[in-house]
């Protein structure tokens, strides 16, 4: 999955998330067209007991725009990384609009992800002392080895624009 945030000079904001689902999708490559086909029907797994023609699979994608009139702020945000999208975007928003972190720190802060068995998975750089205290409270640590979470966002406050592409995927934003 890949997320893009865009703001143009007229103030139009686009938050768009695009995917072929898992790594290289179905891995079916069309040699005549050069297109790699998705494996999006796998998103029904564990979430449905039946599927129908024409149905769209459930999606973790959350291309979002936040607007505050009193603060004259637009925040364009979204993420990539399958099931981790919702929690990593939620944490980035909380970090930025409530905890006072600038957009870059809000995105780069280590995430916590709760898997479908309620195992709590901590990103590698997560504070060890906090992690141990949470475990001591009774939270069961999950066994997730790879984190694919990526958040790309732009905030516009007045006429001041900050754009951040997540360093986790070695992204870099551009503007003028």
């Amino acid at each position: 999955t890949s997320h893009l945030s865009v703001i143009d000079k007229d103030g139009m904001a686009v938050s768009v998330t695009s995917t072929i689902n898992q790594m290289f999708g179905s891995t079916v490559y069309s040699p005549r067209t050069g297109v790699i086909l998705n494996n999006e029907l796998a998103d029904f797994c564990g979430r449905a007991t039946k599927i129908s023609a024409g149905e769209q699979p459930p999606s973790s994608m959350v291309p979002t725009v936040l607007y505050s009139k009193p603060q004259k702020t637009v925040l364009v945000v979204g993420g990539a990384g399958g099931s981790m999208i919702v929690s990593s975007v939620a944490l980035a928003i909380m970090n930025h609009i409530w905890m006072g972190k600038d957009l870059k720190d809000a995105i780069s802060a280590p995430v916590v992800f709760v898997d479908s068995s309620n195992g709590v998975n901590f990103e590698k750089t997560f504070d060890q002392a906090v992690k141990e205290k949470l475990k001591a409270m009774g939270h069961k640590e999950g066994k997730l080895q790879h984190f694919f979470n990526v958040v790309n966002a732009i905030s516009k406050q007045g006429s001041c624009i900050t754009a951040v592409s997540d360093a986790r995927k070695e992204g870099k934003a551009a503007g003028y």
């Binding site: 999955t1 890949s2 893009l4 865009v6 000079k9 686009v14 938050s15 768009v16 695009s18 072929i20 689902n21 898992q22 790594m23 999708g25 179905s26 490559y29 069309s30 005549r32 067209t33 050069g34 086909l37 998705n38 494996n39 029907l41 796998a42 029904f44 979430r47 599927i51 023609a53 024409g54 149905e55 769209q56 459930p58 999606s59 959350v62 725009v65 603060q71 702020t73 364009v76 919702v86 909380m94 609009i97 409530w98 905890m99 916590v112 992800f113 479908s116 309620n118 504070d127 009774g138 939270h139 790879h146 001041c160 624009i161 754009a163 592409s165 995927k169 934003a173 503007g175 003028y176």
Partner: protein, 376 residues
């Protein structure tokens, strides 16, 4: 002049110089802290090269949608493991607070599909390659709808940077190198090897990556318009290749694929209105998490000292309840009229917050339905 007077004057001069220097320093720091990174427009993509492509389109007079489409086409080349023309996309487009639309080009189940497909689902998270999992691609349909409504530059212009990049090639990005290495065993045995291998080994950082076939495809779509992907020679070739790989997609599936345009769902979040995509996207889950957490009145101190532990405890507990609500995230056109409005309601968030205790509870407490995690 007495010695003491000279000394006083020296001291005054020194103090004045210090005050001036400190003032200059403070002014520089103030200007720096208030300096805007950008003042006109910006793009945040997964790679610098594609952010640049989007930015250039904006500078040429393109709208945010134009910039997004050009940057997405670029991303399909730079991060082909993540997205591409064979996938789907969801746009949220904000023009002003009264006009925020969602363009949903998510894939759909084809007319003919493996009836017992869900029996092939794994118990744990796993990669699921194979043609039986292919949904009808909606990516280009989403671009078409978005461009029809919000495009400023000609459709063809948006494809130029990606076609050039695909044809001329570019050094393999290090992120893609990591994925190719991770995936090498499967890669060398798949048809993808014709693009991502050299001498039957996956490409390494610095190797040139080219997409001659995809460049031709993009050129056809650029010249003939988005419908060229869904009907005509290109669509026939695509369907034939999918059929050769054992898939069931048909020309009829492609022809009938449409992206939907709906109003974004506005959710109040303090000073902010948050515009989220409706189902089958997870906007309502995001709203649920933030509505619950809003009740804890988070502030910078919430991430300090002992309070940080409680903040994370509350976040984790909320995420557990959010997992239990995932069962509601499905295509509303196929969900038998299930009401999901509670997911974004403040009352429901209050109710759940009241259920969050000072210690974790057993799995069933959160009404968690067993479901596989995905890593798309």
């Amino acid at each position: 002049m007495s010695k003491s007077k000279k000394r006083v004057r020296c001291c005054v001069c020194f103090a004045l110089i210090c005050v001036i220097l400190i003032s200059i320093l403070l002014i520089i720091l103030l200007v720096k802290s208030n300096r805007c990174e950008y003042t006109q427009a910006a793009v945040a993509a997964d790679s610098e090269i594609c952010s640049d492509v989007g930015r250039n389109i904006l500078q040429e007079g393109g709208s945010a949608v134009d910039g997004a489409i050009a940057a997405l086409l670029c991303t399909s080349l730079v991060n082909p493991q993540s997205m591409g023309l064979g996938g789907g996309a969801i746009f949220t487009v904000f023009e002003n607070p009264d006009h925020v639309k969602v363009i949903n080009g998510r894939e759909r189940v084809p007319k003919v599909f493996k009836r017992d497909l869900l029996n092939d689902c794994p118990q744990n998270t796993a990669l699921l390659p194979g043609s039986q999992w292919i949904g009808v691609p909606g990516e280009i349909q989403a671009y078409k709808k978005a461009h029809d409504v919000y495009g400023k530059l000609p459709w063809k212009t948006l494809f130029k940077p990606a076609i050039k990049l695909a044809r001329e090639g570019f050094p393999l990005p290090s992120v893609l190198e990591k994925y190719l290495f991770f995936f090498q065993k499967a890669m060398v045995n798949s048809s993808l090897c014709s693009v991502f291998c050299k001498d039957n080994k996956v490409l390494k950082k610095g190797d040139m990556l080219q997409y001659p076939e995809l460049a031709k495809t993009m050129e056809i779509i650029a010249d003939k318009g988005p419908d060229a992907f869904y009907e005509g020679k290109l669509a026939e070739d695509l369907i034939q290749d999918i059929k050769s790989a054992g898939g069931s997609l048909s020309l009829e599936d492609l022809r009938s694929m449409q992206a939907e345009v709906k109003d974004a769902l506005p959710v109040q979040l303090g000073d902010y209105t948050m515009y989220i995509p409706p189902l089958p996207a997870s906007g309502s889950l995001l709203s649920f998490i933030l509505n619950v957490m809003k009740g804890y009145s988070l502030r910078p101190e919430s991430m300090k000292g002992e309070e940080e532990i409680w903040t994370y405890h509350h976040i984790i507990e909320t995420l557990k309840f959010a997992n239990g609500l995932k069962k509601y995230v499905k295509d509303p056109a196929f969900s038998d009229g299930n009401d999901t409005s509670h997911l974004v309601s403040l009352d429901f968030a209050d109710k759940v917050r009241a259920m969050i205790k000072d210690e974790p509870q057993p799995l069933q407490y959160y009404n968690v339905m067993p479901s596989a995690d995905s890593m798309g």
